[in-house]
Structures are given as structure tokens and as C-alpha cells.
């Protein structure tokens, strides 16, 4: 629990300066690469030129912010970062202040919340003067944090309230939905939580958050000392305590399933809109030598301290050896290791100013034997007149089972739990369907079509740590007015010749009649190499041909090439 005082901003008066500086800054401050656009351009791109006429042509800068830099998500933080980098202002120090009355606000967390959303932290911003711009920025930062680090409110939800309309101490508890009743934000009457959930089912914005608590026996709820509802996180605030442009003192609460993230989010909300906060600085010590060694530069300890200070990490040489003491402000939760400080030094130095060097160690390259074999075979299959296809490893159950006349249970296929479409239901267990689909998509091409693919299929295998293994296959098909079994058989003979396996029983290879629903009865053979089956070849069953929307006879071959390593 801590409260804060608002520091009057100077940044706003410098807005114009900020924008004229940006392109210049981009040259040496490579973290920020602004892209120019305008409201007009955006509307014209998204809704067409006609809608865009009359829209503002003032240049907007789009800035890419790294996903771990929540402190750059709002204009306030970004301006401050740039000002410090340009040596225009000093990196701010944040500290907590007590309210004039001396008494801190309190938020009491009851144990009922454990069943649904166990953590909450809160803070107060005092003596704020909102302007429309600041108010918008405040709301926007809240929304960006919700979408980002808060993982769409599932990890953390932020509620902001006009402190002067409520009175502490506050209670964070959880109650059955039927027992909760209040007037939610921007509604005119009271609803129970159960009614609210059905009310918001159709709300384009709020409906995305309902699932977070919907199935829980109790819903989280925050009351003030008079029993007024502040909010029902993570869904909606109460109407009573809503903030407006006139709000002077803001009560911010963050409820969460992850306490670390809740603290980060609260720190962001507070530090971005104040100059002071409670958390003492974390101080880290590291040596300039560490930074020089990791980055590959040789700068003095003083210079490195300067580089870090420009990145809002106030640093000073300690005087002892080459040590530097670095203050980590609460705005920088991404700094969790010395390497994070090293990165800031490298960024301030400018990645593109670092001399490019070459690692000196001498290493001997080796190919992965299975890939080496694959590369060599591919060359010779193409030389044998077959064209290489490249198909997806994911497909539908139908492709590897029904269409081939097999049952999915016979396939050893792994199943995907969250496919967006049927194309991604399973990983393929055979290369054949992909080649048949390639032919179907290229029916306009002249006949015969001779295709091959050497790729991995995926099979369940209990002996592996994940219960699955890949298997490298060679598959080839011949599609023409006549089945051309002899062509595919000839390709097998050629492949065996390339792999130095002689025809014959026992030590060599031979084929023997076999039954397989994918093939035409009496036109399928098992390929036996060194006494073990490595695959099949034959003329495809007319039903299979039909199911792949083909019209001509087709013969095919598929073998496992791993036994030839």
C-alpha cells in the first residue's frame, strides 16, 4: 500500500520539439524507428479514399516498442526516455510520499479470493490535473497494458477510481455471483453479477473477458468502507467511482492471478503518471569490464556509466576498480540480470557502431547423415526423371485414413488438439496423399506426371521422450493413361542400385505380393530389404484415385529410407 503525489509535467510543452527531434533521434537511437503516416492515410488504407477526405493530415509517427518495454507504451514514458537519452533531462527518481493527513489507504484482501483471483495491489495518485490529452493517454496506457502484459486481463486487471467519491479502507473479496449487486459503469440501474454476465454476452468489448471468471463459484469484488462497489474485476468497474477530467485523486487497484505481473502493472500506471512512488531503487553493481567483454567494445568506466544513464539507468562509477553502481527504476521490470543492463549499454553505444569481429575457434563441419543421404537421393531421383514436390506435414484425418481406404486408428498418427481448420488435424503418416493432391492441383499439366518427395512423416513411438518420432520417407508416383507399374518398379530398382542393394532374397531386396486397401487388389507388393519390409509399391485402388479427384490410373511407391543409413 502506498500513495503518491503527482508531478507537474513539462513534457507536453515540448511536444513540437519531440516530433521534430524524432527523425534525428532515429539515427542514433535505434530502439525507435518511427514510420510516418497520418490519420488520413490510415483511414484511406482501411476504409478507402472516399472516407479519408477531410481527415487530419498531421503526420503521425508509428513507433515499434519492444514487447518487454511497458514503460514506452505511453507518450509520457516515451518522451521521458527520449529526453533522457538526448541529455535534455535527468533520469527521474521515483519515491513514495505519504498523504498530507499522514494516514495511508489500506486494501484488505480476504481469503475467499483464493478461489478465483488471489492477488491485489493498489496505489493512489494525488493532485492530478487531467487535461483531455492526459486523460486519453491515461486510459490508453491502461488498455495497452491490459492487452499486453495483462494477457487480455487474464493475468492482471486494472481498475481506476475517483478517490474522493469513495472512502477506505477497501476490501477485496469474492462472493457468489447472485450475492453481488451494483450499478456498473455507464449503466442506469443495478444488476446482479449473474445478470451482468448475460448483459455483456453481446458487448463487443467486454464479452472477451467473461470467460476468465464465468465458471467460477465466486466472483472477485472490491468494496469501500461504506459497501460501495468499486469494481468486479476483471470485468467492469462500478459507476459510482468512475473517473473524469475533474478527478483530482485517483485510486488504482490491480487484481491478478500473477503477483509479479500485478506489481509491474501498478508500477507502470503510477510511474508513468507521477514523479514519485514508494518502491526504493534496486541498485545493482557490475563492472565496466563485463560490459566491454560482452559487447565487444573497450570504453572507459565513466563512459559506460554515461551510456547507461542515458538509458534511464542512473549509473556511477563506484571508484573501486571498474565497478559501476546502477539504479534500476520501477519502470524497468525487464531488467532482471546483468545482461539486461549490458544490452542497454550496447543500445546506447549503438549496435551499428560496434566493430564486427569473427569468432576465432576452429570447427569442423559435419552433415547430419540422414540429411546427407536425403540430399544425394533427391539429386538422383530428379536425374531419373521425377520432379520433386514439397507438401505440408499437417493434414486432415481424411487425407491419411478415409481417402486411402484406412481407419485413422490404424495409422499411429498424432492428433492436434486445437486445429483452426481440418487441414491441421493430424501430422501426416504417409507422403502419398500430398503427392496425389499435388497431381490434382496440376491436372492441366501434360501427362505423364512423375513426382517424388523425400520428407518426414510423424509416428507415435512410446520409446521416445515425447512419445513420437519422425520417419524419413521416399514416396514417388506415376500418373498417366496407363498405370505404369513397371515405371514405379523401375524406379525402385534404380533406387536400390543407388543404395547398393542387389536384387535377391536374403541379403538383397525383392518384392512380394501383399494386400493393402490403398492399392488395387493383386497389384500391390511389399518391398523387402535384408529380410525386412521397408515399404510398398503398386497400382492405386480406383476408389483412392476418385477420392483425390483424379481420373487416370496411378502407381506409387513409398519406402522408409532410414534403414539405408
Amino acid at each position: 500500500m502506498f500513495s503518491t503525489t503527482f508531478e507537474e509535467y513539462t513534457e507536453y510543452s515540448n511536444l513540437n520539439l519531440f516530433f521534430t527531434m524524432l527523425p534525428v533521434i532515429a539515427r542514433d537511437h535505434s530502439a525507435l524507428t518511427p514510420k510516418q503516416t497520418s490519420e488520413k492515410e490510415i483511414i484511406s488504407r482501411e476504409q478507402g479514399d472516399s472516407k479519408a477526405s477531410g481527415a487530419s493530415e498531421v503526420i503521425l509517427y508509428k513507433i515499434d516498442v519492444p514487447a518487454n518495454r511497458y514503460d514506452l507504451l505511453c507518450l509520457e514514458g516515451l518522451v521521458r526516455g527520449l529526453q533522457v537519452f538526448r541529455n535534455k533531462i535527468e533520469a527521474p527518481r521515483y519515491r513514495r510520499v505519504s498523504p498530507a493527513s499522514g494516514e495511508l489507504q489500506r486494501l484488505v484482501i480476504t481469503k475467499e479470493t483464493e478461489a478465483v483471483r488471489p492477488h491485489a495491489v493498489a496505489a493512489v495518485l494525488r493532485n492530478i490535473t487531467f487535461t483531455q490529452d492526459r486523460y486519453d493517454s491515461f486510459i490508453e496506457l491502461q488498455e495497452k497494458l491490459h492487452q499486453n502484459i495483462c494477457r487480455k486481463r487474464s493475468l492482471v486487471a486494472i481498475g481506476t477510481h475517483d478517490l474522493d467519491t469513495i472512502s477506505g479502507p477497501f476490501t477485496y473479496t469474492a462472493k457468489p455471483p447472485g450475492d453481488i449487486c451494483f450499478k456498473p459503469l455507464n449503466q442506469t440501474k443495478e444488476y446482479t453479477a449473474t445478470q451482468l454476465m448475460s448483459l455483456y454476452k453481446t458487448d463487443s468489448h467486454l464479452r472477451h473477458y467473461l470467460h476468465i471468471i464465468e465458471d467460477k463459484p465466486v466472483y472477485p469484488i472490491i468494496y469501500d468502507s461504506n459497501g460501495i462497489v468499486l469494481s468486479m474485476p476483471p470485468i467492469i468497474n462500478g459507476d459510482h467511482s468512475k473517473i473524469s477530467l475533474k478527478t483530482k485523486n485517483v485510486f488504482i487497484e490491480c487484481t491478478a492471478t500473477d503477483l509479479t505481473k500485478a506489481k509491474i502493472v501498478l508500477d507502470m500506471m503510477v510511474t508513468m503518471f507521477s514523479g514519485y512512488c514508494s518502491q526504493p531503487f534496486t541498485k545493482e553493481q557490475l563492472s565496466s569490464d563485463f560490459i566491454n567483454r560482452k559487447v565487444g567494445i573497450s570504453e572507459s568506466t565513466d563512459r559506460i556509466a554515461q551510456l547507461l544513464t542515458r538509458m534511464c539507468l542512473r549509473s556511477q562509477p563506484t571508484g573501486a576498480c571498474d565497478n559501476i553502481e546502477v539504479e534500476i527504476p520501477p519502470t524497468r521490470p525487464d531488467v532482471i540480470h546483468a545482461c539486461d543492463i549490458m544490452e542497454d549499454a550496447a543500445m546506447a553505444y549503438g549496435f551499428n557502431n560496434i566493430t564486427r569481429t569473427t569468432p576465432r575457434a576452429y570447427t569442423i563441419a559435419n552433415q547430419f547423415p540422414l540429411n546427407k543421404l536425403t540430399e544425394l537421393l533427391r539429386q538422383d531421383l530428379a536425374a531419373a526423371g521425377f520432379t520433386e514436390a514439397l507438401n505440408f506435414a499437417l493434414c486432415s484425418q481424411e487425407d491419411i485414413a478415409d481417402k486411402l481406404g484406412k481407419k485413422i486408428s490404424e495409422t499411429r498418427a498424432v492428433h492436434i488438439s486445437n486445429p483452426k481448420t481440418a487441414e491441421f488435424q493430424v501430422a501426416r503418416t504417409t507422403l502419398l496423399p500430398g503427392l496425389l493432391k499435388t497431381v490434382a492441383a496440376n491436372r492441366k499439366m501434360p501427362l505423364p506426371m512423375k513426382l517424388f518427395e523425400i520428407s518426414d512423416v510423424v509416428l507415435k513411438d512410446e520409446t521416445k521422450d515425447v512419445g513420437v518420432r519422425n520417419s524419413r520417407r521416399l514416396c514417388a508416383i506415376y500418373y498417366n493413361k496407363s498405370p505404369g507399374f513397371e515405371v514405379i518398379h523401375g524406379l525402385l530398382d534404380r533406387t536400390m542400385q543407388l543404395l547398393e542393394v542387389k536384387p535377391g532374397q536374403g541379403d538383397g531386396y525383392h518384392i512380394q505380393a501383399s494386400d493393402d486397401c490403398t492399392f488395387f487388389p493383386g497389384r500391390c507388393a511389399e518391398i523387402i530389404v535384408h529380410g525386412k519390409s521397408v515399404g510398398r509399391l503398386g497400382v492405386l485402388h480406383p476408389d483412392v484415385i476418385n477420392r483425390f479427384e483424379l481420373t487416370m490410373p496411378c502407381s506409387a511407391l513409398e519406402i522408409d529410407i532410414e534403414p539405408f543409413l
Partner: protein, 498 residues
């Protein structure tokens, strides 16, 4: 050489001519179709320098079918005039004649005839009172054209006749034929191809051979083709091998979340671990085997920190790590390899892989649910950020890319992280070509690697450079069954540095 007769006649005429002959005139005087003469010219040209022929085109006026009829029988109006007897003709009768309608109105406007509308038995036509005979100018003009004296007519007159569809202007292409350097009136038959008999008998020495048409295309060879994406993959493999990188065994599409995320210090609430981004398995849903002590160190660094790190401070769950997924990057294999390396006495290594990865993403013209990731990893004592940029410079130089810039980025398992940009000469701007970084100590130290060992790595997709290289805009034309096989047949060899 359909008709050697025409060709020989042509040559004899040419022999007698002083300067040359015109093909149209020859066809006229021989009484054969002009095309036959043109054929003879072409075949003589093919024999070498016997004749030379210059293509000329001329325009001239010709009578149409109707024009010829008029030249013969007189204009419609003249025929109307002459068919009206002294006692007159019923208009209905006149209209029955073939030339009646057109002739009537023209004759009327020439005032050659008059109509008595009040005549009993319907309107009747009489010759105009004052006219005894008429001058049929139309016919005379047409006769002039027929005699080849069109030049005597004025342009205006010709155009008027053209409008009446009696004349048409035709372009005639003819050859002006002159003697060539090796002119002769006799033609020797040319051989088309060299035969074994000619070689055996030596008769080829006396024979003349018909010249080849070098303008024509050859016959396409009957051959197989490698897939363009795989051709590019072969080149990238080659580059890594040239640079001393050993290939990693990436033939395991299914990974546990542990190796894909946790071992890389990617927190369990990271968005990449969402259902929206990653394919999870329902069968087999969980991995069942982990190096237990390493797993414990990973749990600890995530939840409590260690190795100089504060960690992410959250409740790390084994249930989350066990979940089987389709790997989202080959870095999962790099993690396995680095862990394996840490279990031996450390020696510097360079690793690479190029293989499939899977993302449960929204698909569009450049994104598929699966693509090939190219990855390079170097582990050594004391590697610097400068070393990473140096290796990248060498790597991209082999791709023909020399202008590189680096931009800070964020990646949970590398720090620093850098996006790699190259200057695209065609697009005239900097485009992102890859991602790179230095693996975090929180990833490497729990594996058991020595503290002073750094590991640098980078990655890029195989599809993007291939699409740029082969000018393909829709990824589905390149990868998957909707591939355009013609594109595969026609794709050139792949040299990435040119």
C-alpha cells in the same frame, strides 16, 4: 520447294532482266497465284545468295464485286434510265428490278427521271422530258480504275466510290527481286541432315545442306526437376558447411513445451504459448521423460531466479512443461544440443539446421501454418556482440547481402536481441532479413555450460528469401500441393550470391 518450275522460270526471267523483277508482275505474266511466286522466292532465298529480294508494299484501288458489275453493265441509275420506256413504267414494276431501289433514288437526284404520282394505276415513272441520253460517269470512273488508271481520278471521287462500296483500297505486298552474288539459273537440291551413309561414302563433301533455323526453340529435354525451395535449402546448407557449421538432427517435429519454451527461459504465460499461436497435441498429449535435475534447475530459474538473475517470480508448473506441441522453432533442438554439449567437456561448436516449424497462426499470402526455419548457433568462450554481428556479416555476404544494420528487439531467450536488416536495392529500403541474439545466462547456466561460455544465434525463414529469389508472391504457389508445377519445371538453378 513446292514448285521448282516457278522458281526456275523466275530465275530465267531475272537473268534477262536488267535490274530486277517484281513478284506481282511475274505472277501476272505467268498467270499463277502471287503466293506461289512468293513461295518460290522464299525457297530460293533459303538456298543462299542466289537472289536477293526486297519486300515492298504498295497501295492500289480495286473494284469491288458490285463495282465490277457496274463497270460491265452500267451504274444502277443508268440502268434504271434505260429500262424506262417512252410510255413510262409503274414504280412497283421498277422496284422489282435488282438495281431498282438504289438506281431510282440516284436517277431522281440526277433529274434523269420523273414520277407521276397521280397516274391511274399507281405512281408511274417517265424519263425526264428534256433528256435524250445520259452520261454514266460512275461507270466511266470505274472503268478507268479497272484499266489501272486510278491516278486520273481525284481523291474525293475515289473516296465517294469507296463509300458506295464500289471501290476498295488494297495493300499489295510484293518482292522486288534482284540477282544475288551467286546467281545461277540451275537449282541444286539441298540435304536436310547429315546421314551415316554420307559419312561412310564421303558424299557430304559435294552436298549442299539446308541451313538451320536458329530462331526456333529446341526440343525440351525429358527430365525431372528439384523443388525451388529445396534448391535454396541446399544452398543454405552449403553456406553453413563452408563456414564450418555442423548440422543438427532436427527430425523431431513434436517437442515438449519444456524443450520448446521452458529450457529457453520463455515464461509459461508468454503469449507464444497460447492456443492461438501454438499447435498442441491431444494424442499423445504429454511428454513423459525429462532430465530431472536439469528440469529442477529450469523450474528454479523461472520461479525463483539464480545465476545472477531475479527470475520471473511465478509459480512454474511441470504440467505446462509436459505439454506436447508441434515445435514453434528449431531453437528447441538447439536447446537439446546445447544441453548435450554441457554434459561433456566443453569445446567450441558451430551448429546449424534448416527444417520445418509450425505456428497456429492466421494464414495469408505470405504466412502458412508451417515453414522452414534456418538457424545458426555458435558457442565459445568469450563471444561478443561484435562476434555475432561479424558472423552474420560473413553469412549474409555469402547470400550476396553486404549492407547490414541491426536494430534492438525483444526475445525472451536472447539478450541482447537484434533484428537484422539489409538494404534492398530493388525496394530502395531496409528490410528485415532475420533475428539474432545472445542466449540468456538463465538459459545456458542451468544446462551446465561453463559461465564464461557465450552462445550467439540467429534465425530466418527459408521461404522468404526463396520467394524473393524466384519472384513468387503467393506462398501457396511455392509450398504445398497447390504448387505450380510449371514454375517448378521452369525454375533456374540457385546461386544465392548472384
Amino acid at each position: 520447294m513446292a514448285d521448282t518450275g516457278v522458281a526456275e522460270t523466275l530465275l530465267r526471267r531475272l537473268e534477262k532482266a536488267d535490274d530486277g523483277v517484281d513478284s506481282v508482275e511475274v505472277s501476272g505474266s505467268l498467270g499463277v497465284d502471287h503466293q506461289l511466286v512468293v513461295g518460290a522466292v522464299k525457297s530460293l532465298q533459303a538456298l543462299g545468295d542466289i537472289i536477293s529480294a526486297e519486300l515492298r508494299s504498295s497501295k492500289h484501288w480495286e473494284l469491288t464485286g458490285e463495282g465490277k458489275e457496274i463497270a460491265e453493265q452500267g451504274s444502277h441509275e443508268a440502268r434504271v434510265f434505260s429500262s424506262v420506256p417512252a410510255e413510262g413504267l409503274a414504280q412497283t414494276e421498277l422496284m422489282k428490278l435488282a438495281f431498282g431501289k438504289v438506281g431510282f433514288s440516284k436517277a431522281m437526284s440526277n433529274k434523269w427521271i420523273r414520277v407521276d404520282k397521280a397516274h391511274e394505276g399507281g405512281p408511274r415513272i417517265f424519263k425526264a422530258v428534256c433528256i435524250e441520253s445520259i452520261e454514266d460517269q460512275v461507270r466511266e470512273k470505274l472503268l478507268l480504275v479497272q484499266k489501272g488508271q486510278a491516278s486520273q481520278l481525284e481523291e474525293k471521287e475515289k473516296n465517294e466510290l469507296k463509300k458506295r462500296k464500289l471501290l476498295s483500297e488494297v495493300t499489295v505486298k510484293s518482292y522486288w527481286i534482284t540477282k544475288g552474288d551467286s546467281f545461277s539459273t540451275t537449282i541444286t537440291k539441298q540435304e536436310t541432315e547429315l546421314t551415316p551413309e554420307m559419312i561412310a561414302s564421303g558424299s557430304w563433301k559435294e552436298k549442299k545442306f539446308k541451313p538451320y533455323n536458329f530462331e526456333a526453340m529446341g526440343v525440351a529435354p525429358d527430365c525431372g526437376h528439384l523443388h525451388p525451395l529445396m534448391k535454396v535449402r541446399t544452398q543454405f546448407r552449403q553456406i553453413f558447411l563452408e563456414m564450418g557449421f555442423t548440422e543438427m538432427p532436427t527430425n523431431n517435429f513434436i517437442e515438449s513445451s519444456f524443450w520448446n519454451f521452458d529450457s529457453l527461459f520463455q515464461p509459461q504465460q508468454h503469449p507464444a504459448r497460447d492456443q492461438h499461436d501454438t499447435f498442441f497435441l491431444s494424442d499423445p498429449a504429454l511428454a513423459h521423460q525429462f532430465p530431472q535435475d536439469y528440469l529442477e534447475r529450469v523450474r528454479k530459474v523461472h520461479s525463483e531466479g539464480g545465476y545472477g538473475s531475479q527470475g520471473y517470480k511465478y509459480d512454474w508448473k511441470i504440467e505446462e512443461a509436459q505439454k506436447n506441441i508441434l515445435r514453434t522453432h528449431t531453437t528447441a533442438v538447439s536447446a537439446r544440443m546445447l544441453y548435450k554439449l554441457a554434459q561433456q567437456k566443453f569445446t567450441p561448436v558451430r551448429y546449424f539446421s534448416i527444417d520445418r516449424v509450425f505456428r497456429n497462426e492466421t494464414l495469408d499470402a505470405t504466412h502458412l501454418a508451417e515453414f522452414h526455419q534456418i538457424e545458426g548457433v555458435v558457442a565459445d568462450y568469450g563471444l561478443t556482440l561484435g562476434d555475432l554481428m561479424g558472423v552474420l556479416h560473413q553469412f549474409f555476404t555469402k547470400l550476396g547481402i553486404t549492407k547490414l544494420r541491426f536494430k534492438p528487439a525483444y526475445n525472451p531467450y536472447t539478450e541482447p536481441s537484434m533484428e537484422v536488416f539489409s538494404y534492398h536495392e530493388g525496394l530502395k529500403k531496409w528490410v528485415e532479413v532475420g533475428n539474432s541474439g545472445v542466449f540468456r545466462p538463465e538459459m545456458l547456466l542451468p544446462m551446465g555450460l561453463p559461465e564464461d561460455v557465450s552462445v550467439i544465434a540467429w534465425g530466418l525463414s527459408l521461404e522468404r528469401p526463396t520467394m524473393i529469389k524466384y519472384g513468387i508472391n503467393n506462398i501457396r504457389e511455392l509450398v504445398g500441393h497447390k504448387v505450380n508445377l510449371q514454375m517448378v519445371y521452369d525454375s533456374p538453378i540457385c546461386r544465392l550470391d548472384s
